[in-house]
Symmetry: D2
Subunit: 316 residues, 4 copies
């Protein structure tokens, strides 16, 4: 850690800061510049709250040097991590309806998405979903809305999905760290990229390294879309972390007519996969019809994505 | 609801929208302007997803007229609601440490805050907290971090506190709707004022009308503070809702040296109360020391708040 | 326009609003719903400040139905507008250095960018830039930092560039409306898509229809990049307006290592062009070296963009 | 400056960074930690673009230690600066209409605001405004919309007002640095507090130290108000800078019914002054009627402010 003292900080103030750093287990190196004295701390406790230093007299600012996440950092596994089918050369598309409405509807969905080239079927966990996926050689991804649903969802799904709303549900993250199944962890609406990596760290810390991150939009002043999809998070996560990252253009935009453009953008920027809402008849969907695309739109999109994937050295 | 058609929308497009509105139970009034046709819908289902209309051909935009919340709206109780001690003429101050560290520490806290004029002791629910509060004639507010904690916390606390992180934990809100105890519901970092009122609506809908809202900052591009405290939310909530609103300057700013200024601002803007972290020795607090104020700072602040409360026609 | 009255608004309040609407030249249609009365206004002055109604007693909200921009709207020219080389089937790449440092440097730049397939050379207006562009068959785009520079820049450049900082410099926009040259108008850091279209409207209103919009990032809470590039603005502008839209991944990200990913994303999302900083030796550039890419990076990117352009039915 | 190297950075990468730092005139101190090597630079050029280091191989991040502003920093004048009447014990209220509509209207305004205790009359520069102010012993503040207006406005006004839109109009700031008159500089909608201080620095650098900062709201996802007034900026600026800071609740909220609450909050938080739109008949104002308050509202507000000012040890 580093503490930059204010211009004119007194020796006593500096000494107080040094003493506190030592209390937290740091070796302290002092550099005296023309304007500022800088105190560098080596070793020490990782989980320390730097705000404690920020409010000390004479302190200009305190800051961490090491990333606050370790297991999620690129340095931990420079070659990257492959989680199930995700993170290799292939861009993995997961698609399906918001709600499983009937065995017929989900069978139709499974057929549509597998024919178009998706590898994973999305939907709320149910026997009908599992069966339809199996018939079409698809994996299953389903949301785990809270702690109590981990066991039942795990029986039916291959990949567990943590919604943006739950990104900082620490009890849930801790329990997911004790599972083996791959987890897709969505970025919260108010979460920085660092917040997202810190949330992933909580799962990794439990021993489950099968974590895939998911960009699905942040809240900004622009209200035309449901959220502003931060496409730049994709290459940034690739640099900072070894974990794969996918994107959810359906919920990020909230509008069917913007899904294809944003799905293409995500793959062009290097996403390892996509999760897309597709419905045989979105105008009559039980939920989220406004952001679900039609089968023909999905098929056309998959054709475009195949070309874009190859432009960035990948397959689909 | 209203649907504004695009300039040049065809009769067939307009008819399709009318048909869909009727499907959802609306009576439709059509107004044809020089540029736009507007379709007004009366009656119909309240919980309808307007996005369904937004993506129909020829639609410029669809929008709700009625507030999406009813029970939380000012119209529901024009005279306002008093929740326990909160919402009347007195500005209610809740104060205490982030963590109960020992019986001694919490006894010290209770003495400090009650002497300075606070009415409620904050801290994580424990027997020591309850006893200290009782000795000093204080009420107790404690956080309910998840569903399983409602019962044990309710045994010790008078007011249940829902943290910003849980504002959209719908299972938790539903269960709190079945309780009798007052709830303090914090605004999430990415929540609009409307989002906050919609979250309150979920508690009210269960039958528990004892809800107090709490402004504790929203996430913006300004990074000097932990969050940007939206003081204007205070008079806005007063206009839109009958529920009391308090403010949490400690977590909003994240910095001890900014707490007093923001506490004063909140009361000047009309807040019904404050929740403030106070610690006998913040530099050695087990947690949140950076944002906790010292006893002398708290006492000085209370003196200022008393004058400001009277400037806006209230007591403290 | 529409005014939605509060639940329980009195007849007198409603009449006051009607009277005010009539004062502004509107014909008023009154619809009385179960909960709200809605007043629809047809005709009337376009430039009216709706806030006047928002603060009247008994008013819930006032809103515009027609877009506040007319000339910039898609309805004005449903087929779209081609501005010089921009807006047709070809994705137009503009590239070059932040600063013209010497005749040699700009000659080198012109050669690099024209060989790689760019059509326009960017740089601050100078004779050396003009000459280098001419030698390589490139057009020239240069910034117009203020009113006084329109004439001198116009002598050397083919396209005039308005920086984000100047998006609401109304005197500048008004004067550019009187020019014939194509204008590239950047979105301001705090500008909504509607704000951008309103700024364009000011140029169009002066008679200059040769306007190209440019997405270059908005300010959000994410600080890893200089700004958050709102890629979704590209398909949204395509729907709302007939004007072409390009993207500036160099300034949006502020980081050389993120430029290529965001350039690819923009083209995949449907951008009509790109403006990119390229420098023969960015590590020793006079300015903006951190966000300028090297010639080899630019050539590789152009190869990828060619494939992506064809995936969305365009050329490069 | 400091450069933190990535974990695993090679000796060659470290040496390259050191060489570049030396090129920029820095003395370099190298500290090797368990995980990271940190390079501290002392001396060197102040205006250096740190992004140049951010994109070098092996660099985790580069950062400035010294504040990027010097003349505007608190350390430059620890005792604070008084600008004309602003910055002393008295909270200075500036009030008046958005537009001078007639000699009668401005005379009325001057009487209203001076009677209620304001010290400065606001309005667009005109002879009528000047005369009305003189008759009532008020100073005059008027906006300088662009460079060409400095001279004519200076003839009529005592204080020059730079609107938020112009906060980064560098040509204008430079010229204002050559003036003697006090300048009120508004924070831009997308400007951090540091951006605001850097803009002030440009005026100070020209030799004009009579600068007053003004908080008038930042753009956030909350759309109920025109902008989100960042009240915490007031105590923060007080800590970081010696310059006075005032607040503009009229434009920040954009709504007449929220002006009083935010004016009170600003004074409670320590503002040195306020600038408020007041109009004898806001419902018929030529402009900005929606955010102008009535004479009776202004008088009531001034009474409350007087009490709040005294609560924080000031007068009004």
């Amino acid at each position: 850690m580093l503490v930059v003292m204010q211009q004119g900080a007194t020796d006593e103030q500096i000494q107080n800061v040094i003493d506190r750093m030592v209390e937290f287990g740091f070796d302290v190196h002092r550099s005296t510049g023309v304007v500022h004295t800088v105190l560098g701390g080596v070793g020490g406790r990782a989980e320390i709250d730097l705000g404690v230093f920020d409010v000390m007299d004479g302190v200009k600012e305190a800051r961490r040097i090491a990333s606050p996440y370790k297991l999620a950092s690129r340095a931990f596994r420079p070659g990257g991590t492959v989680v199930g089918p995700i993170g290799g050369a292939q861009v993995v598309v997961m698609a399906g309806p918001a709600s499983v409405e009937s065995p017929d509807q989900i069978e139709q969905c499974a057929e549509i998405v597998s024919k178009a080239g998706a590898r994973v079927l999305r939907g709320n966990a149910s026997r009908a979903l599992r069966d339809a996926a199996d018939r079409h050689g698809l994996l299953v991804i389903s949301e785990v809305p809270d702690l109590t649903q981990i066991a039942p969802v795990s029986e039916l799904a291959d990949i567990l999905h943590v919604a943006a709303r739950n990104m900082q549900n620490f009890a849930l993250l801790a329990e997911l760290g004790r599972q083996q199944k791959p987890i897709v962890l969505e970025r919260g609406l108010a979460a920085t990229i660092e917040d997202l990596l810190l949330a992933a760290e909580r799962i990794l810390a439990g021993g489950n390294y099968n974590v895939v991150l998911c960009e699905r939009g942040i809240r900004t002043f622009e209200t035309y879309t449901a959220a502003t999809m931060d496409i730049s998070a994709i290459p940034i996560v690739k640099k900072l972390s070894h974990l794969p990252i996918i994107a959810d253009p359906s919920h990020a935009t909230g509008r069917r007519d913007k899904v294809a453009a944003m799905a293409r953008a995500a793959v062009a920027a290097g996403a390892d996969g996509l999760i897309i809402e597709v419905h045989p008849d979105p105008d009559h969907a039980a939920s989220e019809g406004a952001l679900s695309i039609r089968p023909d739109q999905f098929a056309e999109l998959m054709g475009q994505l195949r070309l874009i994937a190859s432009a960035v050295g990948r397959t689909l």
